[in-house]
Symmetry: C2
Subunit: 365 residues, 2 copies
Amino acid sequence: MLEWQRGQPAQEIDTPALILDIGAAERNIRKMADRFAGRPTRLRPHVKTHKTPILAHKQLAAGAIGVTCAKLSEAAVMIAAGIPEVLVSSEVVGPAKVARLVALSRHARVITVVDDAAAARAISGAAAAAGLRIPALVDVDVGQGRTGVPPGEPALALAREVAAMPGLALAGVQGYEGHLQHVARAAEREASCRKAMQALTATAALLRGAGLPVEIVTTGGTGTHAFAGEFPGVTEIQPGSYVVMDAHYGTIEGVEFEQAITLLTTVISKTRPDIAVVDAGFKSASIDSGMPGVRGFPGAQFVFAGDEHGQILFDGPRADVHVGDKVELVPSHCDTTINLHDVYWVTRDSRLEDVWPIAARGKIW
Amino acid sequence: MLEWQRGQPAQEIDTPALILDIGAAERNIRKMADRFAGRPTRLRPHVKTHKTPILAHKQLAAGAIGVTCAKLSEAAVMIAAGIPEVLVSSEVVGPAKVARLVALSRHARVITVVDDAAAARAISGAAAAAGLRIPALVDVDVGQGRTGVPPGEPALALAREVAAMPGLALAGVQGYEGHLQHVARAAEREASCRKAMQALTATAALLRGAGLPVEIVTTGGTGTHAFAGEFPGVTEIQPGSYVVMDAHYGTIEGVEFEQAITLLTTVISKTRPDIAVVDAGFKSASIDSGMPGVRGFPGAQFVFAGDEHGQILFDGPRADVHVGDKVELVPSHCDTTINLHDVYWVTRDSRLEDVWPIAARGKIW
């Protein structure tokens, strides 16, 4: 619906615009894939970050064994785009969602996670009625304190129940150490990650010792990929943010990928010497991980000034900044910022290559 | 794309769901309209809150003289839905946007705001070339410190320039006291609002004294509607949030409208006695004004636990809360929460009446 022309300079794109430097994203995908090529741990990237089937297909082409989605509605977008295997990393609860899981399972291998026997029975019942067995992982709380049963005996008890359910096929365990992804110091992150991985793999061993099938031990994110991905017994990791990165991950030691998304804005008001007002606020950049960074103006800070406005606070008067100038921001959190946008403005070498719909944006169900 | 059935109980809607209690919204629209019926100040509600043409039409039917939009893309949605007059309350900058303003002005009366002579000249040039004169307000900074020229002589100087531009028709002044909307104590808010209104109306008088036309003196939001709306010389106010309300406005003394939106969630994990994990996080509720409230559980608190997860922290063990239960949240900021959702689940008397697209969601351009 917006005017654009293939090949136009990136700086001339109408704003606010979420710019995807596709060359940088492709290099990030390659770099992570190369890191795990030939190793026992496989990649199942979390596509909740980029929300876009073409990027998921690029990840598969680089060697990923499938993708991870946060919710069924995200999985539905990926399956409709031909992704053959999806792990849904959040619990599926309620009759509408169970029915949708069963429906999607006719078109792709959809792996579900469970941390409650009654909820698992509901899925099993619907799947069995449809003549299906849906692969299920026991979700284990390895320290994040969000979802999941405790490691060890509680996980074994639930696994035994799941293994006996006719519509489920016990496939292993999931344990996401989300609380560790942004621990800034690498040594501290590694030590904590090892403890979490120890709990997860010991639980996997406990299940195997009880004769239960554990094909999958899945974990890890961009912040812990190096540690979780090399821990013996982990079969796959789920990093997502590495493809596009953000200002928050940019401060995390040892997470070395290129910043592939930026938010292009326009100065719409400049009535004071040291402040410029740009056309992007809460509706264009997420705030849950702090303020976006400002490119090209060392010492400048961005502060939100409402849904549609942001202020660039320069470190002194800037007579060279005028209404109409462009200012590029670095989102503080990629997942939630991408969720605010309908399209990527895809650039290569600072020229507009294409405009891509963010097909799984807003998929909260 | 989601399953639903007209007349189904609201509690059975698949989650997370943004519920609009349309009866409450209709009463809020009526209450604000009644307050200003027969008074000199008119209503030009800001539709950046609800983002939905049918609600804008209900506001017009109740007596509003037009609507206010934040951006041209929002205005385009309203104009396409037959709204005849729109004030765009943010500065229009850049050739693509100026061209769009001119194009929209062929189909509705679009009032623009300016705080920069060069930007105004760009609009004037494009409008004149199209044989149009676009109504323009001088945007005055009445204390918010965002956009706008200072009141008094600087505003007069810009107004003189605008009045001489062939493609613009000077129509008055805008001064938004956004910094006062959420001042909790009514007396303090009123005193500050009076100062801002004094600056705005004195500027209007200055322009009139110089022989310039000032048809419109526009200001005000939900928090200041009572004070700004009764201040002599103010011709219209732009409240938005009153239609649906939020938890933040719910704490503001003297802002007495019904809470018409809530976020329905489902408990997807309950592995601990005093914490329930629900299926709504940063992607379903905005965080810029703090945490959503929790309905029905006195003493409970909501905390975000990621993009798709939230935790309800109860004030003690709750053996009566189970996986699959529904929990209703009250968004902390209506505008930005609504922006995260594609549809309203419209209920009346706790039954699903309809599902409405939020047509102007995501319109950041």
